[in-house]
């Protein structure tokens, strides 16, 4: 009996999925810490800083994911969709410049 061959695509997103899970946990921890700090000392700057850190993670992670997909597709010769990913990032950057 031969064992079934290992699928080369199996688990190809495991690392990215783990990073996304870590980011989600980081957001929860930062938000909980921010609320705790605020409950104890409403005027403490630390509470605001922790809250901004959580917001920053929420803002940046989707954009990093788009950049990662673009680089991945470019390396595999899928230039058309790499350009689409770049286009999405350019739209977001244009919005930030116009704001």
């Amino acid at each position: 009996m031969n064992a079934s061959p290992v699928d080369p695509k199996e688990g190809r997103f495991d690392r990215a999925a783990n990073l996304l899970r870590v980011a989600a946990i980081a957001v929860v921890v930062l938000c909980a810490c921010s609320l705790l700090v605020h409950a104890r000392e409403p005027d403490a700057a630390l509470g605001d800083q922790l809250a901004w850190a959580a917001v920053a993670v929420l803002l940046v992670v989707p954009l990093l994911r788009v950049a990662w997909l673009g680089v991945r597709w470019l390396r595999r010769g899928d230039v058309r969709f790499a350009l689409v990913a770049l286009g999405v990032l350019l739209v977001v950057a244009t919005g930030a410049l116009l704001a």
Partner: protein, 274 residues
């Protein structure tokens, strides 16, 4: 905001629970309710997009492993949605609040219609593909997903119909702070003939980017109130997680109808008040 962070957290949790079970997204319910509680639409919108971004991030890891997200399709339609979100967020500061409230009510109304009428395209399994892992086909808008023990191939069609719908969803997201998933998923499923499971997962991926594009503009305009946002984020993640568990135990049609009725009621009250 007129409410304490803990109250916002509870409201966000309830909205995320109902929204995830009802398939319309929590922000579609949360933002109009915040406006009904006396907050201005311009203050409520960033809270809504924070919960959208949190919900998208919370689901990302599982959906990536399942292979149900079609990234190429998602980013293609996101070109239009992110553009809409940026334009909407930029325009929202120069529009009168009564008009923003009506846009929000319109979004809730569309969400209600989506909740009442939602259905999905069912593609047929292909036994030849049973040994293949689910995922997308490189260089195309096609792919395959797992349905029970079988693998079902699909190919997105009518991009020319999906792009305007995504642009509209992004515009509504940027203007009002609701996610726009209630427009994107039916657009992918009904107009582009993508299986509803793939459409829903791909939408969850893309609304995170739409929210990010809108939030970045809001943040640079000084409209993001991070401490109020933390309560909403925690509530949205907790409510979404409970909703995902409850979803399999409750009859989806009933929950969708209840959510649709609530959205309808909220839309009417927002219009009357504005």
């Amino acid at each position: 905001m007129n409410q304490a962070p803990i109250v916002i957290a509870l409201l966000a949790a309830a909205a995320a629970l109902l929204g995830s079970v009802g398939g319309v997204g929590g922000a579609t319910l949360l933002v109009p309710v915040l406006v009904l509680l006396g907050n201005s639409p311009t203050d409520a919108a960033p809270i809504g997009l924070l919960t959208v971004a949190a919900g998208s991030l919370a689901a990302a890891s599982r959906q990536l492993r399942e292979g149900t997200v079609h990234h190429r399709l998602g980013l293609t339609v996101e070109l239009a949605a992110a553009s809409g979100a940026v334009v909407g967020a930029l325009a929202s500061t120069s529009l009168p609040e009564s008009l923003l409230a009506r846009i929000l009510a319109g979004a809730a109304l569309i969400g209600a219609v989506a909740a009442f009428t939602r259905k999905g395209v069912r593609n047929l399994p292909n036994p030849v593909l049973d040994a293949e892992p689910p995922g997308e086909w490189p260089g195309t808008l096609g792919g395959q997903y797992r349905l029970g023990d079988q693998i079902v191939p699909y190919h997105a069609r009518h991009l020319e119909r999906g792009l305007p719908a995504s642009l509209g969803a992004g515009l509504i997201a940027g203007l009002s702070g609701v996610g726009g998933g209630f427009l994107k998923t039916p657009a992918m499923s009904e107009l582009m003939k993508v299986p509803v499971k793939v459409a829903a997962a791909t939408t969850t991926f893309t609304i995170g980017i739409t929210a990010s594009a809108g939030l970045l503009v809001y943040a640079l305009q000084g409209r993001v109130q991070p401490v109020d946002g933390t309560g909403a984020i925690l509530g949205a993640i907790a409510g979404g997680a409970v909703g995902a568990r409850v979803q399999s135990r409750l009859p989806a049609t009933t929950v969708r109808r209840v959510t649709g009725a609530m959205l309808l009621a909220v839309a009417v009250v927002v219009v009357v008040r504005s």
